[in-house]
C-alpha cells in the first residue's frame, strides 16, 4: 500500500538547519520524495549596498557573507581589487593572509565538527570543538581585534602586522589542537553511531558532482582532486608544501574524512607559514579611500574556503564606487539544486546531516 505523502517544513528556525532557510519536504513514511529549499530570510542585498559604498567601505560588509568563515571572502575581494588595479601586495602580507585563511579554515571545520555531530545527536563533540575553536578565535582577536568578524584582509595587504610573540602563540595553539584532534577521532570517527549514520548517506557520484557544479571538500569526497589552492594558486600557496586529500564514496562519511585530513593539512601549512614568513611591509597603502578610483574593467578572484570555491566578481566603471560586485558562494550551488536532488530517497532524519555535510550556508546563498 502506498503511504500517504505528508509535507514537512524544516526551518526556517530549526536547530538542525545551518542558518535561516527552509527545506520543504514531502515524505512518504520517513522517506523524502520531494524537497524544495526556500530562501529569503537573510537577504540583505549586500551586492546592491556595495554599489553605494566606496571601494574601501565595501570591505566591511564582506565578512557578513558567511559567519563561520569570513576571511576567504575578504581575501577574494581584496585580491579582486588588487587584480583590477594592478596593486602589488607585500610578500609578508601574503603570508599573513595565508595564516589567516588557514586559521579560518580550522575554525570553520571545528564549527562543522560540532554541526555535523550535532545533526546526529552527538553533542559532546560540538562542545569540545567549539570550545577549542575559541583558542583560534583568541588568536584572531589578538591579531585583528575581532573574534568572529575580523575585517583584517583589505586591498593592499593586511591591516596590522603580527603582534609581538604572536607566532609562538600560534605554534603553541597548533600543538594543542593537534593533540586534541586525536581525541576528536576517538569520539567521532571511531564512533559506531557516527559511522552508521554517515556511511552510504547522501551519496554524490563523480559524474553528478561535475554536472551539478560541486566544489570543495564535497567534490574531493567524490574522489576528484580539486583545490583552488593548488589549481589556481593565490597568495603564497604555491610556495607551501601540503597535500589535497580525496576520498572515494561521495557520502557524508567521505566528506567528513576529507575534512578530517584537511584540518591536519592546515596545521601543516600554518607551521610552514610561520617558518617562512619574511619580514618587511605588511601593507601597500591605498590612496585616500574617499577618492580612490579603480580603472574601468572587471576582475574575478576565487578562494578555496571550507565550503568550496568562493569568489568575488567586481566591476568598475572607473569611479570611486563599485559598478557591481557579485559574491559567488559555494553554498549557492550546494544548498539549492544539489540539496533538493540529494534529499530525494533519503530519510527525513538525515536532512540536517546532509545539509551540514554540504556546508550549506544560507547567508551566502542570499547575501
Amino acid at each position: 500500500m502506498r503511504e500517504k505523502a505528508t509535507t514537512l517544513y524544516i526551518g526556517p528556525q530549526h536547530p538542525g538547519i545551518t542558518g535561516n532557510m527552509m527545506v520543504k519536504v514531502q515524505v512518504e513514511g520517513d522517506t523524502i520524495v520531494k524537497a524544495r529549499t526556500e530562501v529569503g530570510y537573510l537577504h540583505r542585498a549586500f551586492e546592491k549596498l556595495q554599489e553605494s559604498r566606496n571601494w574601501l567601505q565595501s570591505f566591511t560588509l564582506l565578512c557578513r557573507f558567511c559567519v563561520p568563515e569570513p576571511d576567504p571572502v575578504e581575501e577574494s575581494y581584496a585580491r579582486a581589487v588588487e587584480l583590477l588595479e594592478g596593486r602589488e601586495v607585500p610578500e609578508r602580507a601574503k603570508y599573513i593572509r595565508v595564516l589567516m585563511l588557514e586559521l579560518a579554515r580550522m575554525a570553520s571545520y571545528m564549527l562543522w565538527y560540532g554541526g555535523q555531530n550535532g545533526s546526529l545527536g552527538l553533542y559532546t563533540m560540538g562542545q569540545w570543538s567549539v570550545g577549542d575553536r575559541n583558542y583560534i578565535l583568541d588568536l584572531f582577536e589578538e591579531l585583528t581585534g575581532g573574534r568572529v568578524y575580523h575585517m583584517y584582509i583589505w586591498p593592499g595587504g593586511v591591516r596590522r602586522d603580527l603582534p609581538d610573540g604572536f607566532a609562538d602563540k600560534v605554534l603553541r595553539t597548533m600543538d594543542y589542537l593537534e593533540k586534541r584532534l586525536k581525541d576528536y577521532d576517538d569520539l567521532m570517527f571511531e564512533n559506531t553511531i557516527f559511522q552508521k549514520r554517515t556511511q552510504g548517506v547522501g551519496i554524490i557520484s563523480k559524474e553528478k558532482a561535475v554536472e551539478w557544479g560541486v566544489v570543495g571538500p564535497v567534490l574531493r569526497g567524490c574522489g576528484i582532486k580539486s583545490d583552488i589552492r593548488i589549481d589556481d594558486p593565490y597568495e603564497v600557496y604555491d610556495k607551501l608544501d601540503f597535500i589535497v586529500p580525496t576520498q572515494e564514496g561521495g557520502d557524508i562519511w567521505a566528506r567528513a574524512l576529507v575534512r578530517r585530513q584537511e584540518i591536519r593539512q592546515s596545521i601543516r601549512i600554518i607551521r610552514q607559514v610561520i617558518e617562512k614568513m619574511p619580514s618587511g611591509e605588511f601593507y601597500n597603502r591605498i590612496p585616500n579611500p574617499h577618492k580612490w578610483t579603480l580603472p574601468k574593467g572587471d576582475a574575478y578572484a576565487r578562494t578555496e574556503a571550507t565550503r568550496g570555491e568562493v569568489g568575488m566578481y567586481i566591476v568598475s566603471d572607473g569611479s570611486t564606487h563599485p559598478r557591481r560586485t557579485h559574491f559567488r558562494g559555494a553554498a549557492y550551488v550546494h544548498g539549492i539544486t544539489l540539496l533538493e536532488d540529494l534529499l530525494i530517497g533519503e530519510n527525513v532524519a538525515d536532512i540536517s546531516a546532509i545539509m551540514n555535510s554540504l556546508g550549506t550556508c544560507p547567508p551566502e546563498i542570499e547575501r
Partner: protein, 595 residues
Amino acid sequence: MSFFDLNGTLKPLTALKQFGKKPHTISYPKESKEAADRYRGLHFNDLDECIGCGNCSTICQNAAIDMIHIEGHDGKKGDSGLRPRVDNGRCCWCALCVEVCPTGSLSLTKDYLYVSEDPDSFLWTPGKDNPEGKEQISFFSTEETSLNVLDRVPMPELEGKERVKSFAEVVLGYNEAEARAEASRCISCGLCTEVCPEHMHIPEYINAIAAGNDADAVRIIYDNNPLPEMCGKVCTRRCEDVCAIASRGEALAIRWLKRYATETAVTADITREIVNPEIREANGKTVGIIGAGPSGLTAAYYLALRGYDVTIYESSAKAGGATMYGIPKYRLPIESLDKQIDYIKSIGVKINFNTKVGKDISFKEIYNKFDAVFMGVGFPDAWSLGVDGEDAKGSMQAFRYLYMINSGDKVDIGDKVIVVGGGNVAIDAARVSRRFGADVTILYRRRVEDMPADWEEIEGAEDEGVHIIPQGIPIKVHKDENGHVKSVEYLKAEMVPDPKGGRPKPVAIEGSNTIIEATAVMAAIGQMGDYSFLEKEFEDKIKIERGRFIVNEKQQTGDPKVFAGGDAVNRTADAISAIADGFRACKAIDEMLSA
C-alpha cells in the same frame, strides 16, 4: 560491519577521561575576559585632540556616526566645534573611522560590555560619555597604518644654482597627474575655508580637480576670487596651517592646486570662456575705486558683474598693487598677472593708469563723481631702521628696491648686500639681489624659526645661497669717504623668554659688536600708509587710527559712501585678506546702492 561494533562503542567512552580536567571556560559573571591588546571595542575620542573634521562620519558605512555640538567645544579656527557621536546600535566595529581619523584622536577600547534596556542610551559621544576609555585604548591608528595620505606630492622646482641666473619662475607647477594625486589626498572637511579670509570654496575646487574636472574647479575658484592665479602662486595660505591632514602629515598643497587649476585657463579669453560669468545688465550706478591692488580689483570685478559701472584710478603704470610691484617676478611672472587683469578688464572694469589721486585728480572729485567710493590704497611707504648712517648712499628701503626692479629700473647695489628684517619682503629683496650677482646676508633680530616669512621662501633663499644671520640687531651704518655704505655694525642678541608667555624677545648683548662689510643696506621691517591724498574735510570723517582706516564689518568708513580695504585697513596685510575686503565691500556697496 556487524551490528555491534565493540571498538566503535568503547572508543567514544574515552571522553570520560576529560572528567576532572580543568575547564577551558571562565566563570562568567565572576570573571570577564580581558580583551586583547588590539581589541575593537567601544569608541573613545580625545575631545581636545579632535578637530571635528567629520572624516569618521563620512567613512562610516553604517551611518552610525553623527557630528554634533557638545558643550565646551564651540569651535575655533581649525576646529569645527563638532564631535562624533556613535550610534552603538548601528556600529559594526570595523574601525574604519579610526583608520581615517587624521588626528588619531579616535580609537577603540578594550571595553566591550554595555547592556541597557533603553535603546536610546546606545547613542554615545565617545570621550564625553566614557572618559575612562582613555585608559583602555586598544585599537588606534598610527602614521604607519593611517588611511590618510600623509605625504605631499613634491612640487617640481628649478635648482638653486639655476634660479639665481635669471628671474625665471622658480616653482614649476604640478602637471595633471601630480595635481590629481595631490588633490585626491583631501578629505573635504572644509576646516581650511574658515581660516581663509576670503572663505574660498576649497574642498569643492580640490574635489573638482581630483575628479578630473579642471573647468569646474576654475569656475568654483572664480566664484569669490578674481586673482586666483596670483593667490595660487604667492598666497600666504593660512588654509594649509589648519589642514586636517597636517595634524600628522603634510598639509594639502592647496595653494599649488589652485595654481594648477587656474593655469589650465591659459589666456584671459580662455578664462572668460571657462568661467563664463553671468554679467548683469548695467544698472546705471557708478563706483570709483582708488588703487588697482588686489582689494580694488576684487571690488571692481564683482561690482562690474553686478551691473555697476566701475572705474579704477591707479598711480602706477600697471595694475596689481603690491602683487605687481612688491613680489619678485620669479614668484609671480608679469604675464600671469597681466592675464588675470586682462580678464578683469574684459568684463568691463575701466582702469586709469598713472593717475595719482591727490595729484592728478582730487579725492573730492572722485567722491562727487561716483555713487560709492572704494579705497584700496595699500601701504606705499616703509619704516626706516632708525640707526645712524641710514642716509648713506646705498642704504635703501627693500620695498622701494623691489618696486624699482619690478618697474624695470636699474638699482646699484654693488656686490655685498645686507637685508635687515625677516618677513617676506626681506627674503624677496635678498633673493632678487642674489639674481643680480650680489652676496646677500639677511640680518634678523630673532631666530630663523621666528621669521614671519613663508618657510618655503626661507628655504628657497638658503638654497640660492643667501646667508642668514639670526639674532643680530643693527646699530649703525658706516659710510666711506664718499658717503657710501661701507659696513653695518650690529649687536648679537640673546633670546629672553617673555614672562607673560609671549614669544621670546631679543635682547642685545653689550659688547658683542660685529661689523660686516656692505655695498648696500636694505631695510625691510615694515610698511606704512600715506593718506595725504585725503582733503581735510574727508580726513575727519574717514577716521584713521594707528596708520589704518577704521571701517565697520562691511568695510565702510566713517563716511557711509566711502569703503576701504587691503593693507590700509587690515592687520594681516596679505593679498587674500585684501581680496576678502574687496569682496565684502562689493557686497556692502551693492546692498547700499540697490536699496
